[in-house]
Symmetry: C2
Subunit: 141 residues, 2 copies
DNA sequence: TCCTAAATAGTAATAATTACTAATTGTAAA
DNA sequence: TTTACAATTAGTAATTATTACTATTTAGGA
């Protein structure tokens, strides 16, 4: 496990420091698209002196290396990090801000609207569903 | 023009102050999805003492009244306000952050992915294209 | 005209993120 | 194995968008 991560980071030209390995591990074992603060709190349990800045720097470095993704969704201010880099979309709970992956293939094949014409060089798109998760839909507003 | 705005604000239970009328006017004559700062700078030319806080408060009040919309897009931190409330989507320039409306009807009829199952009560979705506008696509990066 | 709640201006506070800097560490070469 | 240097880190300050607070002003009905 840990050796695989070390090899992977080296391959990307990133020094596999204790901090980076801990952050990588923390994100890879998350399913909830954590924000930097949450990763920071998780990692700090084992790695007491880590700084929040390091968490941000590391996540950005991972992102540049294509190891992880990130999302910013409506209804939540902070950037959320994503262990999955395969193309996919998201659905967000408007109350608890939970972000869940959507792998529906149809969402990946939406044709470019003709009204764009030659005005933009399209690089991609994303679809973001929003609503209330089961817990929040049941709870009182 | 101005009387129509006064009537409209009154109908929504909003006092039609000079500031509100100026902000409304400034947004309605914008095509570029301005952020609060930009509206503030525009309005301040005529209304020297207006405060940024008032711009934010007013835009939020307009939003609650359903008079305007707002978008937050990837590649840009700040909230952008939208004179158009009809359902529509957006395309964003990744360099200059310009936001353009997309009224393509097909984008408004995307079926809910079956993988959501009963996990979420869906309230809506949005599609956001991104790329480079004609100006930025030509310019050097 | 007077009264009251709503709105405003000005400023302070907050939250997420980035910038800065001195100290530390991984690793390639000697 | 030791050395040297660039990369990384911790700690803190700065920045940016937005919201909160508060005293003052204003719109609009009694």
């Amino acid at each position: 496990m840990i050796n695989a991560a070390i090899t992977l980071l080296r391959k990307k030209g990133l020094k596999p420091t204790q901090q980076r390995l801990a952050i990588y591990q923390a994100l890879m074992t998350s399913r909830d698209h954590p924000h930097a603060q949450k990763i920071y709190r998780k990692v700090r349990k084992k790695h007491v002196t880590i700084s929040l800045n390091t968490v941000y720097n590391t996540l950005e470095a991972f992102k540049r290396a294509g190891l992880i993704g990130s999302v910013k969704v409506l209804h939540d201010e902070s950037a959320r990090y994503d262990p999955t880099v395969d193309p996919h979309n998201h659905i967000v709970c408007m109350k608890c801000k939970k972000v869940t992956d959507l792998f529906e293939k149809k969402l990946l094949r939406i044709p470019t609207p003709s009204e764009i014409g030659g005005e933009f060089k399209i690089m991609g798109y994303r679809v973001e569903f929003f609503g209330y998760c089961r817990v929040c839909a049941g709870a009182s507003p």
